[in-house]
């Protein structure tokens, strides 16, 4: 046991330090979507046509936007909200407002893993559509903040 201690300490420290460094490294930062950087919204265009054509089954549900707002606050606002860290791009832009609901649903389901957005298929489909309903209801800012 005694001889194993130095490398055990190394293993434990590296298990803590490397993931923290990965999260905060310059490369992670440069890969992270910038606020109001229009290029990040091109991810929506990658949705397959069949997925983009899907209709939102919740669009006539009177509670969908309110439920979506609750879900957005719980799961999305950490990155996309108007308060807090805002690691992700704002969703109050015309690119999102005008996007097909199916494309938003596809992006939410698949994430953009290499750029830091996790997949959200762990939320059941109706909840993802409720989030889409809420996101589509957001009024874009007239002029992006600098």
């Amino acid at each position: 046991m005694t001889s194993a201690k130095p490398w055990l300490v190394l293993v434990l420290l590296s298990q803590i330090a490397i993931p923290l460094a990965a999260q905060n490294s310059p490369s992670a930062e440069s890969n992270a979507p910038r606020k109001f950087d229009k290029s990040v919204y091109l991810e929506l265009a990658k949705a397959p046509a069949k997925a983009a054509r899907k209709r939102n089954p919740m669009e006539r549900d009177p509670d969908a936007i309110a439920a979506g707002a609750k879900l957005f606050d719980q799961h999305c606002a950490e990155c996309h909200g108007e308060q807090g860290a805002r690691k992700g791009p704002s969703l109050r832009v015309p690119e999102v407002h005008d996007a097909a609901p199916g494309a938003l649903f596809w992006l939410l389901t698949n994430g953009v893993v290499r750029k830091g957005m996790p997949v959200w298929s762990k939320l059941p489909e109706p909840q993802r559509w409720q989030i889409v309903s809420y996101v589509k209801s957001l009024v874009p800012f007239a002029e992006p903040a600098p």
């Binding site: 298990q15 803590i16 999260q23 690691k87 698949n110 893993v113 762990k122 059941p124």
Partner: protein, 293 residues
């Protein structure tokens, strides 16, 4: 006078500064699905296992788990294990470090995750986080004073396959374990799980008892022998209903009564756990350490 920051302060101070994240956790205790921790978030978990023991004393094993989302495709974890054997003693039984890597960028019909873990535990470890090889109930009847003198250094690999379809998650884990001390062979095991929220649609109100906050399911796990004697002979297996309650106050509670499926298994395992997720832990630590973003 310059304030002194020790390791514990550095570890826990960020928890006071970060926001809480609403959890949407699966109910599994043993099985892994393909969902990783959100990048930058830290999940702090505590789990307990009460186990019955024939030809020995019942036990209460417990572990603390720190799960950190390094990136959207990499989650790192640290476990600290311990146990109390009734009528015997309470002992710290070791630690585990674990990493999970998502292998595909998008959702597919089946989603693979690669899992690699190093653990240094004593023979007194009873958390039964996985069952492997020829693990059987009688292994756990040894008094702590003897079992804790045995030290295991194990490398554990898992292939996690998982799919969520119409609200149902189906997960399968295949594991291979190599004890790095001595000439022990590779040992194998499995875990299977399926679960579903009680409701798929979210209600518009913030509520603790809404059905979508509850996830129920079942998991089954056991050993598959080793390289020289692969199969079900002299192995133990368990079937366990599982339920998770994801509270709007950001806590998740889990409960799982498990039942041994053959004579080599503990007759009954009662597991429960509590966890809480913290937003932006990584950024908070970086700021505390003076990093500029």
């Amino acid at each position: 006078m310059r304030p002194q920051l020790n390791f514990a302060t550095l570890l826990f101070l960020p928890l006071l500064l970060v926001a809480f994240a609403a959890a949407q956790e699966n109910p599994y205790i043993v099985t892994y699905d393909h969902y990783l921790e959100e990048p930058g978030n830290l999940e702090v978990e505590y789990f307990s296992t009460f186990g019955t023991q024939r030809a020995g004393n019942d036990f209460h094993a417990f572990w603390a788990e720190l799960e950190y989302g390094a990136t959207a495709w990499w989650t790192a974890e640290l476990y600290l294990d311990g146990q109390t054997t009734f009528g015997d003693s309470t002992v710290f039984t070791g630690f585990r470090v674990e990493n999970r890597f998502r292998l595909l960028q998008q959702e597919h019909f089946i989603n693979p995750v690669f899992y690699v873990e190093y653990e240094q535990t004593s023979g007194a470890d009873k958390i039964l986080k996985e069952v492997e090889g020829h693990d059987v109930e009688s292994d756990y009847a040894v008094p702590n004073a003897i079992s804790r003198t045995e030290h295991d250094h194990e490398l554990e690999l898992k292939l996690i396959l998982s799919k969520t379809f119409h609200g149902w998650n189906i997960s399968e884990n295949t594991l291979a374990v190599k004890n790095l001390t001595g000439g022990n062979p590779w040992e194998f095991g499995y875990a299977l799980g399926t679960s579903r929220p009680l409701a798929l649609k979210a209600s518009a109100q913030h509520c603790s008892f809404c059905p979508e906050n509850f996830v129920g399911g079942v998991e089954m796990y056991g050993g598959l022998g080793d390289r020289y004697s692969f199969g079900l002979r002299d192995t133990s297996h368990y079937l366990a209903p599982v339920v998770a309650w994801n509270l709007p106050s950001d806590w998740t509670l889990r409960l799982s009564p498990g039942f041994g499926l053959n004579d080599n298994s503990h007759r009954f395992l009662l597991r429960w756990g509590v966890s809480r997720e913290f937003d932006n832990f990584g950024e908070t630590v970086a700021k505390l350490l003076g990093a500029k973003r």
